[in-house]
């Protein structure tokens, strides 16, 4: 095990896969000579050259479509979209080509592309750089959506995603690239389906994904110390398909659920998880599940407004206390 930063884990995964398979390439804006906006492709250009580490023009739909076309004949492209807000421009190719080609060709063609992109509110980047899009991607049949919460997951999921025969969207976060954590030495492949218990507990399940797993863990610590409430934290590292069995198992144990998502509530991860709870284990519940979500506004620039717009560990604590009538 080596301790490394999230961006280093991503870089190592791509480096290893590029060494192994000459048909793996990475592409995106400033991924090559400049080494990547968040350093995730640092050093790859020097090592593998311009044919495989491709600085693209600012043509998100174009270069995403190009990568998808290349993947039809065996290339394994890893696309970096600089900010998920720009992925809207590539939506046509992701939605209409990558996700549907296997189905509409009767299984003849597949688009094994990996699309990595940071989504989330960072620090006063304003409305057009702060949105989250995972809720959009997870509603697309034919596309896998994962969202690593640790360097270990980032490494193992990216490696698995490169080798997987389906298109995979990896939802990252601008604030997490410098997060440190242990990463296994040698090839490690993290599952692209399922969930993980990040902290076992008895009294209530806190569901999080990506950055909100860390808010849940922080809230759980606080609730244990100050209120004697023992929270289980479940890391939903896969958003599509959501882990029905994992959600059911945890709620059947704790009988209570709070879902923490950085995105706004409508049509979100929280609504999906609550629907699954209803379908799988409604009669196990001791209390109505709660969502902790962003306010439904474009993210404001002003620091205080920005902070008020997105949830935090404190909001999770409040939700849990409310649920316990405290």
């Amino acid at each position: 095990m080596a301790v490394m930063m999230y961006w280093e884990a991503l870089q190592r995964a791509q480096d290893e896969e590029m060494t192994r398979d000459p048909l793996v390439l990475v592409m995106g804006e400033d991924v090559g000579v400049a080494g990547g906006t968040y350093k995730a492709t640092k050093g790859l250009y020097d090592k593998y050259g311009a044919e495989r580490v491709i600085d693209t023009p600012i043509s998100e739909n174009g270069f995403t479509g190009l990568a998808i076309g290349a993947s039809f004949i065996g290339v394994r492209p890893v696309i970096e979209i600089m900010s998920v807000n720009f992925a809207w421009l590539a939506m046509d190719q992701i939605f209409n080509s990558a996700a549907k080609v296997r189905y509409m060709s009767g299984g003849q063609l597949t688009a094994p592309v990996v699309i990595r992109s940071p989504g989330g509110t960072a620090h006063q980047l304003g409305a057009q750089h702060s949105a989250r899009m995972e809720k959009v991607f997870m509603g697309i049949a034919g596309l896998r959506v994962v969202t690593p919460s640790t360097p270990k997951q980032a490494y193992g999921m990216l490696k698995a995603a490169i080798r997987c025969n389906d298109p995979v969207f990896i939802n990252e976060h601008e604030l997490m690239y410098n997060m440190k954590g242990e990463v296994p030495d040698g090839d490690y492949f993290h599952p692209l389906e399922g969930s993980e218990v990040a902290r076992p507990g008895r009294d209530v399940t806190l569901f999080g994904y990506n950055i909100s797993v860390h808010w849940c863990l922080e809230a759980a610590e606080f609730l244990a110390t100050h209120h004697g409430i023992d929270c289980e934290v479940v890391d939903l590292f896969t958003l599509s398909p959501l882990d029905r069995a994992g959600i059911k198992a945890s709620v059947s144990k704790t009988h209570r659920a709070v879902i923490a998502e950085e995105a706004e509530a409508p049509v979100g991860v929280g609504s999906e998880v609550i629907a699954i709870i209803n379908e799988e284990c409604f009669f196990e519940l001791d209390a109505a599940p709660l969502r902790v979500s962003a306010r439904n506004v474009p993210i404001p620039y002003n620091h205080k407004l920005e902070k008020a717009a997105i949830p935090s560990a404190k909001d999770i604590v409040h939700a849990v206390l409310k649920m316990f009538g405290k």
Binding site: F63, G65, G69, R102, M104
Partner: protein
């Protein structure tokens, strides 16, 4: 093209015409559903280009008007018709339909319904071919109106910057559904728009299959020799409405008459008759034989094939049992 080639080309274009006309009938009989875009009038385009290319070896991608392009690559017309009938034996197992014919074995990489969608996919296939050191090229057939999509410009730019082996063929039939090109497009001659990307671009008569073939030969040779992308504009005309749901009321009768005098099949037929290569009786016999083949083999196959099972509705959404989905693989 040798005289024998020309006779074969005539037969194939006539087959394409009759195949599409039979689709029309099947649609009217409600055997075919959805949108149906037919090719009559434009036969010389796919035919001439694919004569110059290597069908089954070169990679072809196109829009929704795709039946004939697939067949030109080597797809079995029976499977194409069965697809239109929504049958399990169809080229896409009944999951695709008219606009989504695929035959990957013959390197027909599909029909796509989003106007402009295939432009970058074709560039990507070219990128893959280049990485693999293949001598195959990527060929993208699309219409004139598609060139107003951003993907057209994005793809031409990338194809040039990365010197990709891709041939873009524009079948300029002067209309995007009911909107005539001069009402939607600042520069009507499409090849002129390509000069902004420093890619060789020519415009030729798309009704004369020999002219198309000659121009395509230059284009294909250019691309295959590693000189990068090429743009070929073929001036053509579709006889029917845009799709079966189009009234076709927006075109002047004079214009339609003018183009019908330049029918690609009749022009080649008359040339072969004048040269004494075939007689009109030979042509009629050929036609009868084609009609018989379509009825007795192709339609019969489509009619008699089973529909997909509803139990397999979710098949083909994602890969089956991909080991990396479970993790822990070495």
């Amino acid at each position: 093209m040798t005289p024998a080639d020309k006779k074969r080309v005539l037969r194939e274009m006539l087959f394409a015409r009759r195949f599409e006309e039979r689709c029309y009938e099947a649609y009217v009989e409600r055997k075919i559903g959805g949108f149906l875009h037919l090719y009559p009038g434009q036969e010389a385009c796919a035919q001439g280009v694919m004569e110059a290319a290597r069908p089954g070896h070169d990679y072809v991608i196109t829009g929704y008007r795709d039946h004939i392009h697939a067949i030109k690559c080597g797809a079995d017309p029976k499977a194409v018709m069965a697809e239109l009938y929504g049958k399990e034996t169809g080229s896409s197992k009944g999951r695709g339909g008219s606009m989504h014919i695929f035959d990957v074995e013959h390197h027909f990489m599909g029909g796509y319904a989003l106007v402009g969608g295939p432009f970058p996919l074709a560039a990507g296939i070219a990128k893959g071919l280049k990485m693999k050191g293949s001598d195959a090229i990527s060929i993208c057939f699309l219409g004139d109106a598609a060139n107003n999509q951003g993907t057209f410009h994005e793809s031409l730019n990338m194809a040039k910057v990365w010197n990709l082996p891709v041939l873009y063929v524009c079948e300029n039939n002067l209309y995007g559904i009911g909107t005539r090109i001069d009402r939607s497009t600042a520069v009507v001659d499409q090849y002129k728009r390509v000069c902004g990307y420093d890619i060789p671009a020519v415009q030729v008569d798309g009704q004369d299959v020999e002219v198309v073939y000659q121009a395509a030969k230059t284009a294909v040779d250019h691309v295959r020799s590693g000189k990068g992308p090429y743009f070929l504009e073929l001036m053509t005309y579709r006889y029917r409405g845009h799709s079966m749901s189009d009234s076709n009321a927006y075109r002047a009768k004079d214009e339609e008459r003018m183009w019908s005098k330049r029918d690609p099949i009749i022009m080649l037929r008359d040339r072969l008759v004048d040269a004494g290569e075939i007689s009109l009786d030979d042509y009629k016999a050929m036609d009868t034989e084609i009609l018989h083949q379509i009825e007795s083999e192709i339609i019969k196959f489509a009619e008699e094939s089973p529909e997909p099972s509803v139990n397999e509705l979710e098949k083909y959404v994602l890969a089956d049992n991909d080991p990396y989905v479970r993790g822990g693989v070495r």
